[in-house]
């Protein structure tokens, strides 16, 4: 158990911070959600124009900067990149589309589950299935090829951009679009959100916390090290919601969720599959971008643009359910993942 301590502690801290951020203003079951918060940030930058989801989420900035600072401090900041960056950009787009059809990244899926939202259980089954497809791809030699060392500046670009975004929003907030209603208008104080992101970013950097990795390693190697982190996160959020009286078991009337089971399933399946091809869930990508991984930074940009596309073209779900466009997008996304999988069975020596 001791060797799992760091990842379990990360799960516990993420759970506590997520509960606290909701208590202090973030949308329900959305203390932190990488997909939703990138979507809100895309809205604030006017990349998408859906009025209810526009806000520069300091949590995202905190995640990247927290990972950046701690990796510098621990001498693990390591600029690298060049492992199929454009393919990763597209994978980022597909993953965020799946997440916005479900309404949450794997992290929010666990937060929703801990709040009693059973639609998230359907999502979890789909997510595990998608991770299974990704694991099968890895077993058959899937690889996006090696990364190579990059300059320090190159590795520092992504954290610097997000630091600049933070400065800009603090100094000249009028540059940005902010929701006056809807989820984008619900948020904890900036310093609180930023602190939460920084702490989670630092801890996840140390422990390599990853939700897709937990299921993936379990399937591939019967190694449940990372899975302990997700379990700890779920247990803390469940307990916290029960104590705070916010636990509500069921499918109906769950906050920022829909009951379209099939599309909850397929949306998260896409997230699981894409995350394994990328080497980690959206949270892990954010952390790695902070550690100087430029491929992960490009993945984040893919998610940012993907989120904008989702809202500009009506692909994201709402409480009413998945949209027609969203269903088509999931279908296309699955074909894209299949093509990327089949065209990248690069690793020789894998047992086909």
């Amino acid at each position: 158990m001791k060797k799992h301590l760091s990842v379990i502690l990360t799960g516990v801290v993420i759970g506590v911070i997520a509960l606290a951020l909701v208590a202090f203003g973030n949308p329900a079951n959305m203390g932190i959600c990488v997909a939703c918060f990138l979507r809100d940030t895309a809205g604030a930058l006017k990349l998408q124009t859906a009025a209810p989801v526009q806000y520069v989420r300091p949590e995202i900035i905190g995640l990247i900067l927290g990972a950046f600072l701690l990796s510098l401090f621990k001498k693990e900041f390591k600029p690298r990149g060049g492992s199929s960056p454009m393919t990763r950009f597209v994978l980022g787009m597909v993953v965020v589309m799946g997440a916005l059809v479900f309404l949450g990244c794997p992290l929010r899926m666990l937060l929703r589950l801990g709040g009693g939202d059973l639609n998230a259980l359907v999502g979890l089954v789909g997510f595990a299935g998608g991770v299974g497809l990704g694991a099968l791809a890895l077993k058959n030699g899937f690889s996006l090829k090696r990364t190579y060392e990059q300059s320090t500046l190159e590795g520092a670009v992504a954290p610097s951009l997000f630091a600049a975004l933070l400065m800009a929003v603090l100094v000249v907030p009028t540059l940005f679009a902010f929701s006056t209603d809807g989820p984008g208008a619900k948020h904890a104080a900036v310093w609180m959100s930023l602190a939460g992101g920084l702490i989670i970013g630092g801890m996840a950097q140390r422990s390599r916390f990853c939700m897709a990795g937990g299921i993936r390693d379990g399937l591939l190697f019967k190694d449940f090290h990372l899975a302990w982190g997700s379990i700890a996160l779920f247990v803390v959020v469940l307990a916290g919601n029960l104590i705070l009286g916010k636990f509500k078991l069921g499918f109906a009337d769950q906050p920022i969720a829909h009951m379209d089971g099939l599309w909850n399933f397929f949306g998260m399946a896409l997230v699981g599959w894409g995350s394994v091809l990328l080497g980690g869930c959206p949270l892990r990508q954010t952390i790695m971008a902070g550690e100087g991984n430029t491929d992960s930074a490009i993945t984040i940009l893919g998610m940012l643009i993907g989120a904008a596309v989702c809202h500009n073209f009506g692909l994201a779900s709402s409480a009413a359910g998945a949209t027609f466009g969203g269903k088509i997008a999931v279908g296309i996304g699955a074909l894209v993942l299949l093509a990327i999988t089949l065209l990248n069975l690069n690793r020789k020596g894998a047992k086909a």
Binding site: L138, K139, R146, Y148, D223, D295, R347, G349, A350
Partner: protein
């Protein structure tokens, strides 16, 4: 001895490659990696399979020697 060059490979590929090498030589494998994350993952995996793991650091690279 089977040599696995997993430098620049993203997790979990170094572990996948190590496992594939175990089919070829189940007793002695040398793995080259260049990320802390890969060092941790390969070490954990090899220990689960009963290997003794020794590590040698050479600048950014780490040489993991797996023996039974």
């Amino acid at each position: 001895m089977k040599l696995v060059d997993a430098r620049g490979c993203a997790c979990p590929e170094p572990v996948m490659m190590t496992r594939e090498a175990m089919y070829e030589d189940p007793n002695h494998i040398v793995v080259l990696v260049d990320e802390t994350c890969a060092v941790e993952n390969v070490t954990r995996f090899a220990k689960n399979f009963g290997f003794i793991v020794t590590t040698e650091q050479d600048g950014d690279e780490t040489k993991l020697t797996l023996t039974k």
